[in-house]
């Protein structure tokens, strides 16, 4: 056996090392040492990011083509790990709570194992590897959602998630069996030569596949679990679910569409076209009537998924670059809002939008940060969100989807309305007993500062987008 192929799996191997260390720490650390659990976890994950920041130069594959490596993978995995680090920092306050204190080791281990599953899913070169990665990402995720197991909402959300996850992965598996019947192989490299346009069996396989992966990204006909799960899950898990889990699924969708289903390009473009239109529209319309902050963000994230798919539909290298950039920008903005929601929920147990009335009077800093993040999500010019939206629109426009871009633009106006509704509630609406001034802990401060730098900096420094573009052509 050639052991040098493990060099391609640098990210996965170092993540497994991090997981092993944390697991042992959880086992043997004394009561006093366990107080520093979050510090250890954050430092280890930070070291992991720095160790893997520079891509290995050559693309290659390991295990007979099961595992695939391109320099772009390193960028994507670094973005996902970076988001996980921020989630770790924001989760600290929740993990210090009396009923979760004794199981914080489990939280870190489960989150990292979902991350490992996503890494394998992104880097897969065979549908078996893809399926294993997908399941490895979704099974621990359901346990994370039901993490507050004595709280009714969390348990309910966990049940809803695992049942829909099983249903969707069953459909995905059925689709893969059709693909195997039509092609006789499941290697990404061999399938395109065997696909023909207009074969109904392959089309059925593709539709089942989209249904399975659409559940992960929460595209509209498969989105029904999203709002309930986002509301019921513990807030740090919700933020992880809304950015990291969604982002990884989008990356893998684009790579599979580009690599595997390339001969069926007209068919899948039509399907994705329809999905984008209903995803953006229905996500926006339902977001208008939400009163709970977490449910509101759930529908906002559904419509954002539609915008992310705009980068997918072209199936080009520019689309890939704009998509990665969009996910990065969306990640910092969303994590900022969830960080604020999380700390307010931990301190006061308030998540309703009415509770946020008059927040500016008592917590000007948190309000300001939330406002910037909402502006970024809505795509208002000086912030990163504007540029990321501009790039995905441009990618779709260049591929010739002009009507689609117009529909998406119109929807941006609707989304502006409900994002500004929250801003109005915080600044203008009167409230007799607003949320009292909240003392943020050190971790939350650091994570929110990173997000703030991201929201402002990612837009005005062009180097980030240029780096991503430079690597995306190696896809």
């Amino acid at each position: 056996m050639d052991y040098s192929q493990f060099l391609y799996m640098k990210e996965e191997v170092s993540l497994i090392v991090v997981m092993a260390i944390l697991f042992l720490y959880d086992l043997i650390a004394s009561e006093k040492a366990r107080k520093y659990f979050s510090v250890v976890a954050c430092v280890l994950l930070g070291a992991h990011i720095i160790y893997n920041l520079i891509p290995t130069s050559t693309p290659g594959s390991a295990f007979g083509g099961m595992y695939y490596y391109t320099p772009m993978m390193t960028i994507i995995k670094s973005i996902l790990t970076f988001g996980t680090l921020i989630v770790f920092m924001q989760a600290d306050l929740w993990l210090k709570r009396e009923d979760t204190k004794f199981k914080q080791g489990e939280f870190y281990f489960l989150i990292l194992s979902t991350l490992l599953g996503m890494f394998f899913m992104i880097a897969s070169g065979h549908f078996l590897m893809f399926f294993l990665g997908l399941e490895m990402a979704s099974i621990p995720m359901s346990t994370l959602i039901a993490f507050d197991k004595y709280r009714h909402n969390s348990a309910e959300a966990g049940a809803k998630y695992i049942l829909t996850a099983m249903f969707s992965s069953a459909l995905l598996l059925f689709g893969l069996s059709f693909l195997y019947g039509a092609c006789g192989t499941l290697y990404f490299e061999d399938i395109p030569a065997l696909l023909t346009s207009g074969n109904y069996m392959q089309l059925a396989a593709f539709v089942f596949f989209i249904a399975g992966i659409g559940f992960k990204i929460s595209i509209v006909p498969f989105h029904l679990w999203t709002a309930d799960v986002y509301q019921g899950a513990p807030t740090p898990v919700t933020s992880y679910l809304s950015v990291i889990s969604k982002g990884s699924a989008v990356f893998v969708l684009l790579t599979i569409l580009m690599k595997v289903f390339a001969p069926m390009v007209t068919e899948w473009q039509n399907i994705i076209y329809g999905l984008i239109v209903i995803t953006i529209t229905i996500g926006n319309l339902f977001a208008l009537r939400q009163k709970n902050m977490k449910r509101f963000l759930a529908f906002s994230s559904i419509s954002q998924a539609g915008y992310i798919l705009l980068g997918v539909i072209g199936g080009t290298a520019i689309g890939m670059a704009s998509l990665v950039y969009y996910v990065l920008v969306y990640m910092v903005a969303n994590l900022a809002i969830f960080g604020v929601i999380s700390i307010i929920e931990q301190r006061t147990e308030k998540v309703s939008m009415d509770d946020y009335n008059g927040l500016y009077k008592t917590n000007p800093k948190l309000t300001f940060l939330t406002t910037l993040a909402l502006f970024s999500l809505a795509g208002i010019p000086p912030f990163a969100g504007f540029f990321s939206k501009f790039f995905v629109f441009m990618a779709a426009f260049k591929s010739g989807f002009i009507v689609l871009v117009v529909i998406a633009l119109l929807n941006t106006i609707i989304s502006l309305y409900y994002y500004l509704l929250v801003v109005k509630a915080m600044y203008i609406n009167k409230n007799d007993n607003p949320i009292e001034p909240i003392k943020t802990d050190c971790y939350t401060k650091i994570s929110l500062t990173i997000c703030l730098i991201g929201i402002i900096g990612l837009g005005i420094t062009s180097i980030v987008y240029e780096t991503i573009t430079a690597f995306s052509y190696g896809m």
Binding site: E156, I162, F174, G181, G184
Partner: protein, 101 residues
């Protein structure tokens, strides 16, 4: 016995599974319905491998992996359902409706 006959069986299992998942009110019954779909997919893999591509083993291996993963998933699902039962004293999906709209 041709490949079509097996495909008819697996398609019936798929449809029964989807119908059961959407219509049954008991969470365990829903779980069993999902198992039906998964087994239909497994049958498909094995049949395609045996009849269409007899000189390779990819489909059989996929089936084995799928069975293993699904066992893990079912175990977690049952654990979560038990946890829900402790919270609401019922397995009925109509009772798990605290969060809606």
């Amino acid at each position: 016995m041709g490949v079509e006959l097996y495909l008819v069986i697996s398609t019936i299992m798929l449809c029964a599974g989807i119908y059961g998942f959407l219509m049954r009110k008991n969470t365990l019954a829903m779980l069993i319905s999902v198992e039906l779909i998964l087994n239909a997919a497994d049958i498909n893999f094995a049949v395609f491998n045996k009849f269409l591509f007899p000189n390779q083993l990819e489909g059989h291996f996929f089936t084995l992996f799928a069975i293993g993963i699904v066992a893990a998933e079912t175990a977690i699902a049952i654990a979560i359902i038990i946890n829900v039962y402790r919270n609401v004293q019922s397995l009925d999906v109509d009772k798990i409706d605290k969060m809606k709209h």
